[in-house]
Symmetry: C2
Subunit: 289 residues, 2 copies
């Protein structure tokens, strides 16, 4: 089955389970709204690509791992959009969850999705308990405190920010979890795969910085130049456009070089290269040099 | 080691771990604020009491289970107190977390505590993976959708409420989890222990209804008569004071009768009886009949 179908089917089954009687209907709808239609599903795709490269000897375990990562990511988007954080009106081209369902259900939908991410892994058979436990440990560390996405978001409430901890926790941690969990789901050593995830996370950060600096609101679907407005650290401000593009290329070569030897190494390199092409920004004509 | 010390030490270790470098300091403080000083720690006490009654052959597993339940309970208090739900100013005699730290950190503290509840169980050794997996499955089902505390809170956003689903999910689910997890942590069948938890949860609900109807604000530490004001279902409104007390006595006898045969059965009956005495309201002199 194609990777995208594996992801969608596993997520759909988790959401359907959460909406069974006696679920309160509106919260059930809100859960569906939070995860569908999905975005690029980058993290679970990365997770399953790594699992496949490692032999994918327990596809059900890998599917659960991928779905868990995406559910956690969706939870973080719902909570990050709320008024006490980004106060975002739009997410994935439709009203943000709290705009559509109110703050109470947005808060509960995020909470339920965090629980559902773990629950998806707890439903694995007892014969997979060892792998399930290892997967949930990685998931927990990459999402909670002191180094997961909650910690990353927490840095935004500090007057003095540890920038490397902030980026690693807020963006890097779920990418690192994606590769590590893909490996662990297939019985490989997750540690050997954390560098790949970390570098892809860095690449996304730099690509985001480039898009923020290069594109206008029409292309981005959100206000442009926000890093400059808020004086946030940005690779373009630090290195210039060409320097940032060079940095992005270096990170992506490093990512590919970090891939451990495994049965599906060549195919995985191709997948990462294709993703990398999509990350490279198209320089608008007005800025071409 | 006394049960209370086992609970406090395990929770303290979890919070200390969450505050390690590179944690953002304010969120770390907020986590500590959310769990200390604790209330009666009723749910983890019940969990460990059941584990001890079942032989307590893996005390570390039981400690983790008890701490996980209390961390999840604290998470639910932090989120329930927020403006989009109860908008509570006071919790356990001090400002509610969002009043002390702001909404952003309250939201994140709740999220982090949910993750930490699972994480505490994921840190158990691989040799306990089977029990850890079973424990996390119970924890997830009792906290998420469709029947956990998130679902319970979700009913408050519905115009037509399924009252039995609401009470079971909002109050009952964590009590049921407490007894089931205590048994599972000690290698006993959790199913046999769910009735005890369910009945204790019901007893708490009726006792709460009695306190709301009988006591004034000075005793309660919060506004009295709120069920009548909000036309919420209340056992006293339905049965009268004497009827509600009789119901409470019946539920508690049923709870004790439901205790499965186990090595520590007699001691556990004593513990439940002592808890029951504390639940019985003292009828104020002005209402004595």
């Amino acid at each position: 089955m194609p990777i995208r179908s594996r992801i969608e089917e596993t997520i759909a089954a988790a959401i359907a389970g959460a909406r069974l009687d006696p679920a309160p209907p509106a919260l059930g709808q809100a859960l569906d709204y939070a995860v569908n239609p999905g975005g690029a599903r980058i993290r679970p795709t990365l997770c399953l690509s790594v699992a496949v490269a490692c032999g994918d000897d327990r596809p059900e375990v890998a599917n659960a791992a991928a779905a868990a990562i995406e559910l956690m990511h969706c939870a973080s988007l719902v909570h990050d959009d709320m008024p006490c954080f980004d106060d975002a009106d739009i997410r994935r081209g439709k009203p943000s969850l709290h705009r559509a369902y109110g703050e109470a259900l947005a808060l509960l939908a995020g909470d339920s999705l965090i629980v559902m991410a773990f629950e998806t892994l707890t439903e694995l058979p007892a014969s997979d308990a060892g792998r399930a436990l290892a997967l949930m440990r990685i998931l927990a560390r990459s999402t909670g405190m002191p180094g997961g996405i909650c910690a990353g978001q927490g840095w935004e409430s500090e007057s003095k920010v540890n920038l490397s901890a902030y980026h690693q926790a807020k963006t890097g941690s779920l990418f690192t979890a994606a590769t590590a969990m893909g490996a662990a789901a297939a019985g490989s050593d997750p540690e050997a795969w954390t560098e790949l995830g970390a570098r892809i996370g860095e690449a996304f950060q730099v690509a985001d910085d480039l898009r923020d600096a290069l594109y206008d609101e029409d292309v981005l679907g959100k206000p442009a130049g926000q890093d400059a407005v808020h004086a946030r650290p940005n690779a373009v401000a630090e290195l210039g456009v060409r320097g940032a593009i060079r940095r992005l290329e270096d990170i992506l070569s490093g990512a590919i070089a970090s891939i451990p030897s495994c049965p599906g190494e060549a195919a995985l390199c191709e997948i990462i290269r294709a993703q990398a092409e999509r990350l490279m920004p198209v320089i608008p004509a007005r800025m071409a040099v």
